[in-house]
């Protein structure tokens, strides 16, 4: 039910506060009513036709590094 998918904004219609997003190979129309400052090329989390939040590339990379570092030390998440 709380499933939400990461999608890339490819076009924004400011008049209707809607965006076209690419979900893999599929394009969808979603509402931007719940987020501010969305830009084309931003990645957003899509849930029941709404963008819920922007996804931070920087934080995603940090988390992926944590996974790799888990193999090295127990202190890296602190």
């Amino acid at each position: 039910m709380c499933l939400a998918l990461p999608a890339k904004i490819i076009a924004i219609d400011a008049a209707t506060d809607m965006a076209t997003v690419a979900l893999g190979e599929v394009n969808k129309e979603v509402s931007l009513a719940l987020i501010d400052d969305a830009q084309v090329d931003d990645f957003v989390l899509i849930h029941v036709g709404y963008a819920l939040n922007k996804i931070s590339q920087e934080e995603a990379e940090k988390t992926l590094r944590l996974f790799a570092e888990a193999g090295l030390s127990g202190e890296m998440t602190r």
Partner: protein, 385 residues
């Protein structure tokens, strides 16, 4: 897909599994409740439990909105269709959930009732605009993730003056349910529930923020790690819970930092606060009446509240005899402990709500073959002291 594939890499899963095996103290238990059905689904689909040492176990929580909605609320929705003749719009998950007398919204639809599956609240608004001569009710369910889209629809309907649209509100709140689980007294015929820490919700937390769990971690002394829904997120978060327990900490940590912030989505929170207020009490399947655990529509939007527009009788209905959904939802029984599981109750012909949604523990056990290993996941409760 970006942000999905990277979080399912096998080599990193092996790294994390080795780290958990190394760091988990074999002299103790780590009983971690994943609150969300989305996590339950990921744990089963990717076999995450099998990558854990025997003393690290996941206990499945009630975070599946269709699973916790009491039968009486579905009976009320059916009455809206059959007594009041409305077009009832709802999300697909809701259609097959068993109501009283072995009925469901899907059966009501088959019998000629106007029940429509929608993907978004925007679809429900469109149906209302396209059918000005009919009353259209959106049967709203879901946790904090799904509430803001309902708030937007109500504000839009208000602004447009859409007279034939209303919402039957069943939105519920996560922190209240977590408290209810920890406060629940042991019931006759059930084992005591023992939880050492929580995997916190992914997408609920994108809205309410990680700070929302701080009082819970403090008051009950349980670590909470906000976890993403991908398998590597679940493993990393389990490792973070294990480290907290090893070090005697009980804090809120955020593994899902690519989307979740401490304060959450303020804009969505504001919209929800404009439209909804706390219900003094709401019934949950499994947990019973829980104070301040659900939302209702504010008086300012009363004209769009289906419970005020129509006479929605409060129906109190009981679960199917023998169905263990209530105990399974509290984490004190496993699906294999239910006599109906896999005999008369299966995803094709569900008797209880936990077998309907793919996020329900019973559906997950069934779909991914856990029923073949009755002792596996169960080692938690009965196992090492």
């Amino acid at each position: 897909m970006k942000y999905i594939d990277e979080f399912r890499q096998r080599d990193l899963a092996e790294t994390l599994a080795a780290a958990i095996d190394r760091e988990a103290d074999h002299r103790r238990h780590y009983r971690i409740m994943e609150f969300c059905g989305g996590h339950t689904h990921a744990i089963f689909r990717y076999g995450v439990q099998d990558l854990m040492p025997a003393n690290v176990r996941f206990i499945h929580g009630p975070g599946c909105p269709v699973c916790v909605l009491p039968i009486g609320r579905i009976d009320s929705a059916i009455a809206l269709v059959e007594v009041h003749g409305v077009i009832l719009c709802t999300y697909g998950d809701m259609l097959r959930v068993p109501a009283s007398d072995r009925r469901s919204l899907l059966k009501v639809k088959a019998e000629g009732g106007d029940v429509r599956m929608v993907y978004s609240t925007q679809d429900a608004l469109k149906i209302a605009r396209d059918n000005p001569g009919r009353q259209v009710v959106f049967f709203a369910i879901g946790f904090e993730t799904t509430t803001p889209p309902t708030a937007v629809a109500l504000q839009q309907a208000q602004a447009e003056g859409l007279q034939n649209f209303s919402v039957f509100c069943n939105h519920v709140l996560t922190p209240a349910a977590m408290r209810a689980i920890l406060d629940a007294p042991q019931r006759a015929g059930e084992a005591a529930l023992a939880i050492d820490g929580f995997l916190g919700p992914s997408h609920v937390s994108t809205i309410i923020g990680s700070h929302a769990y701080a009082p819970l971690a403090r008051r009950y002394g349980k670590p909470v790690v906000i976890a993403g829904f991908e398998p590597l997120d679940v493993m990393q978060s389990a490792l973070m819970v294990i480290r907290q327990l090893n070090e005697g900490r009980c804090e809120v940590e955020n593994e899902y930092s690519r989307v979740v912030t401490a304060e959450g989505n303020r804009k969505a929170q504001a919209r929800v606060a404009e439209v909804f207020e706390l219900r003094p009490t709401f019934e949950w399947r499994g947990l019973g009446l829980v104070a301040d655990s659900a939302l209702r529509i504010r008086p300012e939007y009363a004209n769009l509240d289906a419970e005020q527009r129509f006479e929605v009788a409060a129906i109190s209905a009981s679960d199917v005899k023998g169905c263990e959904c209530p105990s399974i939802l509290r984490g004190v029984k496993r699906p294999v402990d239910c006599k109906l599981f896999g005999t008369v109750c299966s995803p094709e012909n569900p008797m209880g709500s936990c077998m309907v949604s793919s996020e329900g523990a019973c559906a997950a056990y069934w779909s991914y073959g856990r029923f073949r290993q009755p002792d596996d996941a169960g080692a938690v409760q009965e196992g090492v002291a």
